[in-house]
């Protein structure tokens, strides 16, 4: 990277966040690959359809508005009825309901001798309307009119972008703790099982604290208790690693089994769902500008972790311990304490992940979090953190997590089969890390080291 040498700021930026480019390329690619017909809904659909009717249908036509019975379609039917009444059309009826209810309404109208010239319907009920036209002889001359499609990348629909953020929340939150642990030169394999333990503890504690009638403060307390248990397990792993010199891989592998076993024991392997419906506030609701609460929580955690790692003494200590443990010890850094703190944070983040997942499903599932440790580690490594320890960036991890989420989402949107998805995801992780290695090695060679 010759150009990087002449621009130190740019060089530092690409060194730390080069993966941002990969993420951008992925987003562009999937925007192109999912450039498809979109069906307008709600008020948009009614505006487009009203214009189309005014253009193409005879005056004084009898119009039946038919749509499903959910938010968008109800808005569609209401606003279309209002628009058409102002025009020259006669709206004979506006039905929102199940297909069978719409069919019944049409048969009732026809039996009463009402002529239906046009069935106006959003795309979601077009098939029903054409089916009915085929089956009911009196509808033979009826026109089915739907709003025209428009072209736009499915990937870039607002709902999808929020979905991408939402699907990665749990992995990304755990990855904060994992980044710290990996920067110290360690690894934590227990996070997936801890997530399950936290999920079932949260659900079980809430069940004890009143089940579906539990109060919000009680629920918050139950969540904090579950997170504290997971932090405790993290502290135990940290203690094993520091006091008894057990390799992190082995210590956390053992805790992975222990935590999963406990989760299965607590629940007898059945998920617990005695949780109030309002418990989905964290995982499913969106209070601020339709951004899901869990995504906001994730953003706050990343901001805090970025501050800790780049501005605080603890952050400097973590880098120092991972860079050269001996040197860190000699310069007076409390190495063991720093290590234990890293594992506690990692455990607590896994616990928080479990709380979020319980909230998303309003039930605690002991089978949840399977293989999550690998996705979390992948996010950290793709984000540019070195498994050898000593280097890495919290925000890099966030980018890594998004890369994984975008690939998974994009492959679903482009109908890639489940098995192929695994192959591609594996290759992309490998490719991303390979790129990172090449970039670093190439940079060193150019800088004239060795």
């Amino acid at each position: 990277m010759r150009s990087s040498r002449s621009h130190p700021v740019l060089s530092r930026f690409t060194a730390n966040y080069g993966m941002l480019g990969v993420l951008a390329v992925l987003c562009l690619y999937y925007s192109w690959a999912t450039f498809q017909r979109q069906h307008p809904t709600g008020d948009d659909a009614s505006r487009v359809l009203a214009r189309k009717l005014a253009r193409s249908v005879d005056q004084k036509a009898n119009v039946l508005i038919a749509a499903k019975e959910y938010e968008d379609d109800i808005r569609f039917a209401e606003s279309l009825a209002a628009r058409l009444e102002g025009d020259r059309f006669h709206v004979v009826e506006s039905v929102n309901g199940e297909p069978a209810a719409i069919r019944a309404a049409i048969e009732r109208l026809l039996a009463a001798g009402t002529k239906i010239d046009v069935i106006a319907t959003p795309k979601s009920s077009q098939l029903l309307a054409t089916n009915l036209k085929k089956r009911i002889p009196e509808l033979a001359n009826t026109q089915v009119v739907v709003p025209d499609d428009y072209w736009w990348p499915t990937f870039l629909l607002g709902g999808n972008l929020l979905g991408v953020a939402n699907r990665i929340v749990v992995i990304a939150v755990i990855a904060v703790g994992m980044t710290m642990v990996i920067i110290t030169g360690g690894i934590d394999l227990s996070v997936g099982s801890l997530l399950a333990l936290s999920a079932v503890l949260t659900a079980r504690l809430i069940a004890i604290a009143g089940g579906i009638e539990a109060t919000p403060p009680a629920m918050v307390f139950c969540c904090l208790a579950a997170i504290a248990v997971c932090a405790g397990v993290g502290a135990f792993s940290g203690l094993m690693i520091t006091a008894f010199r057990i390799p992190p891989f082995i210590a956390t592998l053992a805790m992975m089994e222990v935590a999963r076993g406990l989760a299965l024991m607590i629940t007898k392997s059945r998920s617990i769902s005695d949780v109030p419906g309002s418990f989905d506030w964290l995982g499913l609701d969106a209070d601020l500008l339709s951004v899901p609460n869990a995504v906001i929580l994730m953003a706050l955690i990343y901001a805090a972790a970025h501050f800790v790692m780049s501005r605080s003494r603890l952050g400097r200590y973590i880098y120092a311990v991972g860079g050269n443990r001996q040197a860190a010890r000699l310069s007076g850094i409390p190495v063991n304490r720093v290590l234990i703190i890293a594992y506690i944070v990692c455990g607590a983040m896994a616990g928080l992940g479990g709380v979020i997942e319980t909230s998303q499903f309003t039930s605690g599932d002991p089978k949840s979090g399977l293989m999550y440790e690998l996705y979390v580690i992948a996010a950290v490594v793709v984000g540019g953190t070195s498994l050898a320890g000593g280097e890495g960036k919290i925000l890099g991890t966030l980018i890594g997590a998004f890369i994984i989420a975008v690939i998974q989402n994009g492959m679903n949107l482009t109908n890639v089969e489940s098995y192929t998805q695994k192959v591609i995801l594996g290759l992309v992780i490998l490719g991303a890390v390979l790129l990172d290695t090449l970039r670093k090695r190439g940079w060193r060679r150019l800088a004239g080291e060795q």
């Binding site: 990969v22 098939l127 998920s271 769902s273 989905d280 309003t362 679903n412 489940s418």
Partner: protein, 322 residues
Amino acid sequence: MKAILSISLIIFAGCGRPAGSDGQGKGVEDGAKPDATIGVSVLTLTNPFFCELADAMKSEGAKHNFEVIVTSGEYNVANQKNQINDFIVKQVDAIVLCPCDSRAIGTSIGAANAAGIPVFTADIACLAKGVKVVSHVATDNLGGGRKAAEAVIEMLGGTGKVAVIDFPEVESVILRTTGFKEVISKAPGIEVVGYWPGGGDRGKSFKAAEDILQSYSDLDGFFAINDPSGLGVATAVEKAGKSDRVKIVSFDAQPDGRKGVKEGKLYATIVQYPDKIGRKTIDAIVRYMAGEEVEPEILIPCTIYRKAHADADPTLAADKGQ
């Protein structure tokens, strides 16, 4: 920058081809626009049962010009949540689920409800409250249990003593034994000596059967609630040298079970039809979209698979040739 270029090439190489640029083309003729898109998420594609189910939905869907997109949760309801979210974004016309968790799937079904997308379940029901599933299509396990009792009566010629290898932890098995009891209790010549837990497992059922054969030397037959337990019993019977006297009926008609029938280890096994579940599910969707009333539960009847079926079974003939 060169490096970034190279990684993007890797990614394009990886994703470009399978993804395609229009995201269509499964189960539908080239160039034709499907009438409807159905999003499917099954429990797993590592079990032949669900592969058959999914394949049947694809081929049946193609007849109605439906595009059927099959994904698999692989036992993880979090995967299914993501798949359902993506189906909602794609504005599919219907979603078919074999839930990985009957309760945790609730919030995802709720999300589909809120987006106006009808949800159907196949084989595994949703037990979450407050969400709407148009129809549940599954094997009639109660009826299957009745069929098993008929097979046992036929096997014993109307008189004899029979023991049951049970697995009462599983909902579908409880239905099987309930149906079995209902019919067998009306057969005057047949005495059920008892129900023993076999865990649905070959080894456990083998041990249970050994103990039963010890205590009931005049036993004539067994009903085992699935093929692995039936084959475990068969091994115990063989070991006791009672193959001539003690006969077995099992359930599922998995390849191993069918082979057992062919070799005479099992008298009969009860057949479930995953392909019929798939076809009936598509049929329910078609009827739903034509404005017809769809039953909230559609049960697929089981049949008895005897030696005559095994001898005529093409899949087993191929097996023998090897």
